[in-house]
């Protein structure tokens, strides 16, 4: 599943299972290309991982809480614990590996 952040549900969303959070900015080109890759990944792994997109400008509290410094930043959670993190546009196989390590 790939969805935009619903603030009230975030803590609950990341608490269980494999959740990949994409901290992005709507004005950032690499973020747009990452979104393109994530859509592709969702087609094949969407039933095993939840992908949540968090807008950088609209969610300063979450950005601070998770110490995100730039965008795009991908943070992989498993049962609420951060497993891995990558900054910048990433190769599709690298993202798939992040997800598979959390399954």
């Amino acid at each position: 599943m790939l969805k935009e952040l619903v603030k009230e549900e975030f803590t609950q969303d990341i608490a269980k299972g494999a959740v990949l959070v994409d901290f992005y900015s709507s004005t950032c080109s690499p973020c747009k290309m990452l979104a393109f890759i994530l859509k592709d990944i969702e087609k094949t792994l969407g039933d095993q991982v939840t992908i949540i997109k968090v807008n950088f400008e609209e969610n300063p509290d979450l950005i601070e809480e998770h110490k995100v410094e730039g965008y795009p930043t991908l943070v992989m959670f498993k049962d609420g614990e951060e497993l891995s993190r990558k900054s910048g546009l990433q190769q599709k196989p690298v993202i798939i590996k992040m997800i598979e390590e959390a399954l």
Binding site: S25, T27, C28, S29, P30, C31, K32, M33, L34, F36, I37, F56, E69, G70, Y71, P72, S87, G88, L89, Q90, Q91, K92, P93
Partner: protein, 312 residues
Amino acid sequence: MRKYDLVVIGAGPAGMTAAIYGVRANLKVLMLEKLAPGGQMINTNEIENYPGAGKVNGSELALQMFEHAQELGVEFDYKTVTKIESIEDSKRIYTEEDDEVIEALTIIVATGTRPRTLNIPGEEEFKGSAISWCAICDGAKYRDKDVVVIGGGNSAVDEGTYLATIAKSLTIITDLELTADPVSCDYLRSLPNVNVFPYKRVVEFVGKGGEFTGIKFVDKETGENEQVIECDGVFEYIGAIPYTDFLEKTTILGSGGFLEVNERMETTIPGVFGAGDCNSKHLRQVVTATADGAIAAQEASAYIKALRRKEV
């Protein structure tokens, strides 16, 4: 083994144009890309000199080109090419991801470039934290802070103009003058929070107790007049290195690892062509990349026609 008339390595503007021209010439085309479609366009906030597009975001133009290629039937795959081989009239392509060998009659190398680094003290320590090569990605953390851009070419001026809207102060240190197009240079110079230091050479990224504090530079010609500017972050735009490592064992690379091609984009290996920023050339722009891609694909098509005539 998957077989194609044309395999395009790289999905930047050169590669995508080559793929479009390839399918329109009735070729079976596969385009390989290790990251995402767009190449250097992805890191460009606004492209203002691609005819007909007006002012366009880099990734939006990239996605439009990619969709165009997909609509015409270009196959696409995420692969990092590690080696190519030329065996008689056939080419073989090996990739990092798996053991699959892809066969093609022709190859267009359109792999683009990556940023050059300074290789000076402190760079290794602070890269990824205080030193960045992507203003669009990392600029946000320097709101109301002091930032330095190293370089004076197109990328330095474009990204510097973007950073100047975010940072408290922007200092540009370059070993020549600003060399981008004069309109962009004049605009950047006119901004109240921008200061340009031409004819300087950066010699060190300075830190204290593991914290980045600033950069040290000297006069380019004499190596004297050492100065330190305190800042919170640095962006390097000092040129590019081609993604041609996988071709090192071939004979088609020239100075700096760039592909040597003729006006038909032919390399010295028959059936292997080069296009875009990875070619040895003077001007690297989206419009010159697309032109290279079109020429390379037309020549690949002509090469295949000649091969087929030979077989008859």
